[in-house]
């Protein structure tokens, strides 16, 4: 009984987090803020929903679910760090940045986002700088 209640609670918590993450991904103005919503909240939502499924009944094997949870928690932060670093270096727009850019001398950064630079090349303007 306690197990069932805990499972239902975890399922509800995970669903709430996934909804918040989806609203953030749809509404936030900037790549980095969207990534904050998608990875952090999506990671917690996935973890608690999988835990709820594992607690729900005995027919589900727990080892695979625990492996999925561990792998998600290990790799989600690494992947989002890699992706945000690449987005910063490719010149994605940063919304609401005030004052000095703290990463200015640390990472190379393009002037315009990738899609604008490739659009310039398609129009026959100045060519893309070769990578």
């Amino acid at each position: 009984m306690i197990q069932a209640v805990a499972s239902l609670f975890l399922l509800a918590v995970g669903m709430t987090f996934i909804y918040i993450a989806a609203i953030g991904v749809a509404r936030l103005p900037d790549v980095f803020q969207r990534m904050h919503a998608a990875t952090k909240t999506g990671g917690i939502g996935t973890t608690s929903l999988l835990l709820g499924v594992l607690l729900a009944d005995g027919t589900v094997r727990p080892v695979t679910g625990l492996l999925t949870i561990g792998f998600t928690l290990l790799t989600l932060s690494v992947a989002s760090q890699l992706l945000s670093r690449a987005a910063y270096m490719s010149g994605a727009t940063v919304h609401g940045l005030e004052g000095r850019d703290a990463l200015a001398g640390v990472l190379d950064r393009e002037k315009a986002p990738l899609e604008e630079r490739s659009r310039v090349e398609e129009d026959g303007g100045e060519p893309l700088k070769s990578a």
């Binding site: 669903m15 991904v25 999988l50 499924v53 009944d57 589900v60 679910g65 490719s90 190379d108």
Partner: protein
């Protein structure tokens, strides 16, 4: 206890359509490449949850294996997309 969880899992699968649609909206609409990669991350997380809930609804634990494989592929693909963005944007 089992029919309760079958019903709950079915309802939750139906409710997951809304976050899936919002992430797909960002994937289609997203102004930049990086937005689409973030949306792909979100979509694969929702797919993992889908497979776990289907495992709960049908009682077949093979669907959990699908979730594990989706998680593995998600990491590799995100790394590949990050390398693509970085190589296109790095000024070395």
């Amino acid at each position: 206890m089992q029919p309760v969880f079958t019903t709950v899992a079915t309802v939750l699968i139906a409710l997951l359509a809304v976050p899936f649609g919002l992430a797909a909206y960002r994937m289609i609409r997203g102004p930049g490449y990086a937005d689409r990669f973030v949306a792909l991350d979100m979509l694969t997380a929702i797919a993992i949850v889908f497979s776990a809930l289907i495992a709960l609804a049908t009682g077949r634990s093979a669907f959990l294996d699908i979730g594990l494989v989706i998680a593995l592929i998600n990491f590799v693909s995100t790394c590949a997309f990050a390398a693509f963005l970085e190589r296109k944007g790095g000024g070395q």
